[in-house]
Symmetry: C2
Subunit: 376 residues, 2 copies
Amino acid sequence: MPGFSFQLHRQDGGARLGEIATPHGIVRTPAFMPVGTQAAVKAVRPEEVRALGTDIVLANTYHLMLRPGAERIATLGGLHKFMNWPHPILTDSGGFQVMSLSPLRKVDADGVTFRSHLDGATVTLTPERAMEIQDLLGADIAMQLDECVKLPAARADVEHAMQLSLVWAERSKRAFEHVEGRAVFGIVQGGVEPALRLESARAMNELSFPGYAIGGLAVGEPQEVMLSVLDLVTPALPEDRPRYLMGVGTPEDLVEAVARGIDMFDCVLPTRNGRHGLAFTRFGAVNLKNARHADDPRPLDPESPYAPAREYSRAYLHHLVKANEMLAAMLISAINLAYYQELMNGMRTVIAAGRFADFREETRALWSRGDLPPLT
Amino acid sequence: MPGFSFQLHRQDGGARLGEIATPHGIVRTPAFMPVGTQAAVKAVRPEEVRALGTDIVLANTYHLMLRPGAERIATLGGLHKFMNWPHPILTDSGGFQVMSLSPLRKVDADGVTFRSHLDGATVTLTPERAMEIQDLLGADIAMQLDECVKLPAARADVEHAMQLSLVWAERSKRAFEHVEGRAVFGIVQGGVEPALRLESARAMNELSFPGYAIGGLAVGEPQEVMLSVLDLVTPALPEDRPRYLMGVGTPEDLVEAVARGIDMFDCVLPTRNGRHGLAFTRFGAVNLKNARHADDPRPLDPESPYAPAREYSRAYLHHLVKANEMLAAMLISAINLAYYQELMNGMRTVIAAGRFADFREETRALWSRGDLPPLT
């Protein structure tokens, strides 16, 4: 069973082409990780997730520790077997969902105590417990426990959370050291404060993690603010370790972040939008709820490499959305994931060929062109 | 484009092996038709419906006339193209759903007037309009408009509805005569009154339809009552025309009805139960909501020919059901349809070999054995 490693194959401007080896296989970077919150990518079967070009999925520690439970999944043979996904898995630490989902959370130096959003039970998550859970799940890549503050926040609160996250980073790393072949990533915090971000990146660097995430972004701030943090942080991270921008993003976010040296992403957007009738195409987003599609026999994109984007009419997809048919969520989620993975694959191809800058321009031009004009 | 025809290949006791030719391909009988109420089999993609061994699906005229509208579907190229199902389609006439779904319905000799359950609009369905809609949809097999009464009902009401359905049968047939290559089936009514059922069957026979349905059953009566009606009606129907038992049923209903000479079925049970966590297997039904499955690493059936029934643990399916993941409905609906089509295929195989009686006994014995005992 080969252990975790990262190889940087090529740089093209800021964009990087690489490969992460894990015990469950290779992740080609830049990589997009579909989100399987509750051990399932919503509305898409695992073999389809794979067929769409996915190397790695993300699963949420917070949800799985509460239901069905990490010990149960371990007894059942681990998360890969449980969810019928024999390929790489990254798990988050649970910290972000504690902040966003659970009522009555209380943070102290030791960890965070909260009420389960499912049954109200009191649960404590320490760095050591977060790592134990991710070990039980069998994650190929685990994440340190961090404290996330809701933005906007006072500088002192952002700084306190950043410093606490550093302490927890060291404890997380130590707690995962005995796990062979798998990796834990540190998370750079610091909100949108340049000095705090730099301090966090430098301190993380000293802890020498096998990979680094940038957390606490894409939480409502404008895109240029997020990108300016990347401009600041990525140069402070070591070149020979993968960089993961957590919870990002739109197709445009992905291209702009890859341009700034990011290697990994996760986001619920393709599947969440898929459940709400919003499709991603080469020409931007298409709202299939819109009545303009009701009589439109054209497919979403006749030149898509993914058959459902070519074979189903907009009229039919519109009908399925309006009629609340599950097939709407199934088809549009898969179409969106296909588009995301096609975009990642496109970026990997052009970085290899040294043509990333052109690709970025061409891709943006297609998005600006926008969707087909309505039929008249 | 070959037209509708039926060939009876073999009889084995009462069970019949045959083949229906339609403009969109062959239907091997006995056949089970998954229900695509709103032009979609719920939670299963059309290519998967096909791969599971489905020759023909049913779509509901009532739903489609109200949304997205029959004229719209015709303009878009017909129902086959609309729902990306290039294989045979049978549509019902809308009569049954008018009774079960719409408030304020009013029946007179000309047709039925009702309020749409979607927007309250007043709609009139005559035999001529029901056939026009099914022609617009492009159904390979259309159904006559009939009047369905809710059972239990007074004999006079059952008789009146049966007589009215006969008049509408003739009008439906005449209204569909100009449609080349496609067929309209007559529907035998008469509730659970033997004399009325026989009168209906004889009168239908005289009208000489290319196929006959038996309607108004599986509406809550005990199975033996339904089977006794079949014992009475099927001998009164011509041997050289297919016989379709509408809205049936459980796996046991299918086997018992095939034993009595039925060739076609439709039912929402496999997909509806799939959305409620109930799986069909060779050993009977399995309620995956049940806590006994929470720690059970075993698949639903390690010897199923359908991979998801072998590859996912009961523990995982239980988790998906409890967590309200769409993937639960997707997997269990497909597992159920796979089981239904496997059962139909099994029946066709043994009828060809003259072994239907043995198969019926063996299949019933497996069902009686029941599901695996819980893990201890």
